[in-house]
C-alpha cells in the first residue's frame, strides 16, 4: 500500500500530523490513519478555545467501521476548526493533509515540535506496520 505524506509536516506515533502555518499549527490525521479508519462519517471537532494537551485525546473521528480518538500532537489552544467537515466529513479521506485538516492551534510550546517525527522516521514507522 502506497500512502501519501506531507514533506512539511511532523508526525506523532498515533498518526496525527502537525504543520506550521505562520504562527499557528494546523493539525490533522495522516493518510495512513484515514485509510485504516475507512469512510469517515463524523468528526467531533472541539470548540474554539479548547486547550489541547500533547498526547491527550481531544476529539473523536467516526467512520463506518469505528470511532477513534485523535490525540493532540502538540499542546495549545484551538484557534479554528475545519467547519467544512461538518457537512463533508469525507474530506478527511479525500485530502487528509489539505482540505481534511481538523483544527488550528496556537502552540503553547514550540519546542514540542522537536519531539515529533519527521517524514523519514514516520514513513519508516508506517512501513513496519
Amino acid at each position: 500500500m502506497e500512502y501519501k505524506f506531507d514533506q512539511k509536516a511532523r508526525y506523532s506515533k498515533t498518526h496525527e500530523w502537525v504543520r506550521m502555518d505562520g504562527a499557528e499549527a494546523v493539525v490533522g490525521i495522516t493518510d495512513y490513519a484515514q485509510n485504516k479508519l475507512s469512510d469517515v462519517v463524523f468528526t467531533d471537532l472541539p470548540a474554539v478555545g479548547k486547550v489541547l494537551t500533547k498526547e491527550s485525546a481531544f476529539m473523536v473521528i467516526e467512520s463506518v467501521k469505528a470511532a477513534e480518538e485523535v490525540f493532540a500532537p502538540v499542546s495549545g489552544a484551538v484557534t479554528a476548526r475545519n467547519e467544512k467537515l461538518v457537512k463533508a466529513p469525507e474530506l478527511v479521506n479525500k485530502d487528509p493533509f489539505g482540505d481534511g485538516w481538523l483544527v488550528r492551534v496556537r502552540l503553547s510550546d514550540v519546542k514540542e515540535l522537536d519531539s515529533l517525527m519527521d517524514l523519514a522516521s514516520y514513513r519508516k514507522l508506517v512501513e513496519t506496520l
Binding site: 463524523f42 470548540a47 470511532a67
Partner: protein
C-alpha cells in the same frame, strides 16, 4: 425438564480441561449453607389447580368500570381499540429487540420506521429513534445527549420541578459520578423565567415537562421564550411531553425544543401494573451523531425497491466500543409497535378527539371540585390532570374513597412536593364518564367531613 445442550461427555471434557472434578465444585466459593438452601415451598400444584388459585386472586382486584380511577401521574388509562392488540399479537412481531441482523427483518424495521415517522410528526421534530425503555430513561438519555453535544465540558443540568419526580430521580441515577450539578427543581415556584435566569454558559440543558407533572400547560410563547434564552447560553432545551396531549397542543418542535422525550404508554399500551412501557425520543437533525438508541431508515435496494435498514446507532458499544456513551442496545419494539398501531388506528383526528375528551372531562371535574367547600383547584391552564388542595390528608381521603365509595382517588403530591402537602393530582381521560365524575365529587364532599 430443563434442556442442556451439552452432553455428559462434553461436560466431563470441559471440567477436566480446567482441572475440576465436578460441576458442584465450581460453586465451592459460595458458603455451604447458602449453596443449596432449603426452600420452604408448598407441594406442587397441577396446572388446573394453579389456574384456580390465580383466578381467585384476580377476583380480589378492584377493576373495571365499577371502580373508576382518577389516578394518572404518568400512566394513563385510555381506551385501546381491539385492532391494536390483534395486530401486535402477531407472532412475527413478538420480540423486544431491534434485530441484530436487521436486513433480514424487513417487517420489523418497517414497523420501527413507521413508529419513528409518527413520533417525529407528533412532536414536531426531525428525527425519532426506535424508542427507549420508558419516559424516565428517555429523559435521562436526553440529558446525556445534551452533555455529549457540549462535549462533556458543561457540568450543569437544570430540571424543572414540573418534570415527573421519578424521571428526575432517574436522571440523577444515570448521571451520578459525572460530577454534575443537577438543580432547578427545588420548588414548583421556580418557573420558566427563573430557569432562564439560572441557565448559564456552563449549563448543558434545561429540562421541562409539557404538560407538566401537575398537568399544567405552558403558553407556547413562554416555552418559545425559554427556548431562546436556553439557546443563547448554548444549551439544549429538552421537553418531556405527553404524546396524547400533543394530539391537541402545539408540538414542542415548533417552540424551539431540541429534544422531545417522554412516556409512550398512553399510546395504546395497557397500564399493566406499571410496565413494560416505552420511552419516545425525538430530536433535531443537528445533533443526530450524539443521539441515543437506534434509528431505522428507508432506502432502496439494488433493484430500486423500497427497503429498510438500520441507519444509525451512534452511541452504542458495538460501534464505539469502550467509548460508547449509551449502553442501551435494545428498544421497546413491541411497545413502540403498539404505539404505532394505535396512532394508525386513530389517525391525527382521532388522537385530537381523544385529547379533547380528556381535556373537557378533566375541566368538568375541576369546575365541580372547585365549587366544593374545603377543596381548591390550582389556577392556570391544564390538560387532563390538575392539583387539588384538600381539607384533609390525601391518604385518608383516598382510603375512604376506595373503601366506602369504590373509587380510586388521585395521586398524593405531598411526598414529592412538600409545598403541596394535602394536595391531590386528579386525572380524567376519554374513558372517564360523567356519572363517574359526579360520583367522585359527591364522595369528595363526603370525605371532607368524615
Amino acid at each position: 425438564m430443563s434442556f442442556i445442550p451439552n452432553t455428559d461427555a462434553d461436560r466431563a471434557h470441559m471440567l477436566s480441561a480446567i482441572g475440576v472434578a465436578s460441576t458442584a465444585e465450581l460453586f465451592h466459593d459460595v458458603p455451604k449453607d447458602f449453596r443449596f438452601p432449603r426452600l420452604d415451598l408448598p407441594a406442587a400444584l397441577s396446572e388446573h389447580e394453579v389456574l384456580g388459585q390465580l383466578d381467585a386472586l384476580s377476583r380480589l382486584n378492584a377493576q373495571g368500570p365499577q371502580t373508576p380511577s382518577f389516578l394518572g401521574a404518568g400512566a394513563y388509562n385510555h381506551f385501546i381499540p381491539a385492532v391494536v392488540d390483534a395486530m401486535v399479537s402477531r407472532s412475527e412481531f413478538a420480540t423486544a429487540y431491534t434485530p441484530y441482523q436487521p436486513e433480514v427483518s424487513q417487517g420489523t424495521l418497517q414497523a420501527i420506521f413507521e413508529y419513528q415517522s409518527m413520533i417525529a410528526r407528533l412532536t414536531g421534530m426531525e428525527i425519532s429513534n426506535a424508542s427507549h425503555y420508558d419516559g424516565a430513561t428517555s429523559t435521562a438519555e436526553a440529558v446525556i445527549m445534551a452533555l455529549n453535544v457540549a462535549q462533556r465540558e458543561k457540568k450543569r443540568v437544570l430540571l424543572s420541578a414540573g418534570v415527573h419526580p421519578q424521571y428526575r430521580a432517574v436522571v440523577r441515577t444515570y448521571t451520578q459520578g459525572m460530577g454534575l450539578t443537577v438543580t432547578g427543581d427545588e420548588s414548583t415556584s421556580i418557573g420558566f423565567d427563573q430557569l432562564g435566569d439560572l441557565c448559564d454558559e456552563s449549563t448543558a440543558c434545561v429540562v421541562v415537562q409539557y404538560p407538566d407533572f401537575l398537568g399544567r400547560v405552558a403558553e407556547p410563547a413562554q416555552l418559545s421564550g425559554l427556548a431562546k434564552r436556553v439557546h443563547a447560553c448554548g444549551a439544549l432545551l429538552v421537553v418531556v411531553a405527553n404524546p396524547v396531549a400533543l394530539g391537541l397542543l402545539v408540538p414542542p418542535g415548533e417552540m424551539g425544543a431540541d429534544v422531545v422525550a417522554g412516556e409512550g404508554q398512553a399510546l395504546g399500551n395497557h397500564l399493566s401494573f406499571g410496565g413494560p412501557y416505552l420511552g419516545f425520543f425525538a430530536f433535531r437533525r443537528d445533533h443526530i451523531r450524539k443521539s441515543s438508541g437506534r434509528i431505522a431508515g428507508e432506502t432502496v435496494d439494488q433493484d430500486g425497491r423500497r427497503s429498510y435498514v438500520f441507519t444509525l446507532s451512534t452511541r452504542e458499544q458495538h460501534i464505539r466500543r469502550e467509548k460508547a456513551t449509551s449502553n442501551i442496545c435494545t428498544n421497546q419494539s413491541l411497545n413502540a409497535l403498539t404505539a404505532a398501531v394505535y396512532l394508525t388506528a386513530l389517525g391525527p383526528r382521532g388522537l385530537r378527539r381523544v385529547a379533547e375528551l380528556c381535556w373537557h372531562k378533566a375541566h368538568y371535574l375541576a369546575s365541580r371540585v372547585g365549587s366544593l367547600s374545603g377543596y381548591s383547584v390550582t389556577k392556570g391552564e391544564f390538560f387532563h390532570e390538575f392539583a387539588v388542595r384538600c381539607p384533609r390528608p390525601v391518604s385518608r381521603i383516598n382510603a375512604r374513597l376506595f373503601e366506602k365509595h369504590g373509587i380510586v382517588g388521585g395521586y398524593d403530591l405531598g411526598a414529592d412536593y412538600p409545598e403541596l402537602r394535602d394536595a391531590m393530582l386528579l386525572c380524567c381521560t376519554e374513558v372517564t364518564t360523567k356519572e363517574q365524575i359526579d360520583r367522585l365529587v359527591a364522595a369528595l364532599e363526603d370525605c371532607r367531613n368524615a
